[in-house]
Symmetry: C2
Subunit: 181 residues, 2 copies
C-alpha cells in the first residue's frame, strides 16, 4: 500500500476549524499516515484530532505550523510525489489513479481551503493536478474519493492498533467495545 | 441511475454552516437531485448553495425547514428507501452497494451531524444503517463514498444544464468557460 500524507493549506481559524478537522479525520480513517497543517497552528484542531487518535487508535500524526514550501521541498527531495487536489485539474479516472499507484512512491496530497497560490499548479510544486469532479463541492469529499482510489478500499478493513474504542458493525443500533488501554 | 435525495439532520447555526454547505455541494456534485435541511432554515447555507446552482447549473433543489419525520414518512409512503449513514452500521461493501442499487428504488440518505435520535436506527425510519468505515471521520466523506458506490461513477461525467461557468480540466493551471445565461 502506498504511503500517503496530507498537506492542508490555507486554514483560517476559527472559520475552517470543523472542515480542517474533517479533513484530518478523513485522512486518518481512509489510511493516510498523517497530516501537516501548513503555516499555522490551531490548538482546537490539534486537540480534536489528538483525542480521536487516543480513543480510536492507530498512529496518525498531525504536525502543525510547518511552512508549506518547506514541507513540499522536503517531500520532493526524498523522492515523494505531490498531488494537488483541485476542481481545475485532470479528472481522477481509474486510469489516472492506476498511473499514480503504479509509480509506487509516497504521495503528499495538497488540499487547499481558500484560493491557493498559483504556484501549486506548477511543476515545481505538484506532479499532478487532480480533480474529483469539475464542480465546486468539498475538499473533504475530494480527499475521501482520492484516498479510496489510491489505497484501493483496503482502508475499509483497516485495523487501528491500541484502540480504546472499537465499533462492532450492526444492522440496527450501536455496539462499541471499550478496551483496556 | 437511481434517484437520490439527502436529508441533513441536526444542523446547528452557525457552527455547522460550512459542513452543511459541503454536504449539500457534495450531494449536488455527486448526482443527488436535492437536499432537505431538516427542521431548521439557515439563510447562509441556502444562499451559498443557491449561488452555486445559479452559476454552475443543474436542477439541484435545497428545501429547508421540513420536519425530519414528515420528510421520512412521505418518502417511505411513496415507496422510497431510506439509508441512514452512521459509523455504527453495516460496512458499505461492494455487495451491500449492489444490493441497494438492485432494489432500484429512490433513495433518501439520512446524514446526521450531532448525535442522532435512537429512532434513526429503527425499521420504522431506516431500511439500512450503513457505515463508511467504522471510524469517526466526516459525514461529507461518508456521503461522497456512498453516492460514488450507488451512482457508479456516472457522477464524474455528469453535465449540469444551464451552467454559466464550466471548468475545462487541465493538467496545469485553470481554465473556466463563461457561458451566456
Amino acid at each position: 500500500m502506498v504511503r500517503v500524507v496530507v498537506l492542508r493549506w490555507g486554514h483560517r481559524a476559527p472559520r475552517d476549524r470543523r472542515v480542517t478537522t474533517h479533513v484530518a479525520l478523513t485522512a486518518r480513517a481512509f489510511g493516510a499516515e498523517g497530516m501537516i497543517l501548513a503555516d499555522v497552528r490551531d490548538e482546537s484542531v490539534e486537540k480534536s484530532v489528538g483525542k480521536v487518535v487516543r480513543l480510536w487508535g492507530g498512529s496518525f500524526k498531525l504536525e502543525a505550523g510547518v511552512p508549506w514550501r518547506k514541507a513540499v521541498e522536503e517531500w520532493r527531495g526524498k523522492g515523494g510525489l505531490v498531488v494537488h487536489l483541485t476542481a481545475y485539474g485532470e479528472p481522477l479516472t481509474r486510469q489516472l489513479a492506476g498511473k499514480i499507484r503504479r509509480l509506487n512512491k509516497p504521495v503528499m496530497v495538497l488540499v487547499g481551503s481558500q484560493k491557493v497560490p498559483r504556484e501549486f499548479f506548477a511543476e515545481t510544486v505538484s506532479d499532478f493536478n487532480v480533480s474529483v469532479g469539475s464542480q465546486p463541492h468539498s475538499e473533504v469529499s475530494s480527499l475521501a474519493i482520492f484516498l479510496d482510489r489510491i489505497l484501493g478500499e483496503e482502508w475499509l478493513k483497516k485495523e487501528f492498533e491500541r484502540a480504546r474504542l472499537k465499533i462492532i458493525p450492526q444492522e440496527r443500533g450501536k455496539k462499541v467495545l471499550r478496551l483496556e488501554a
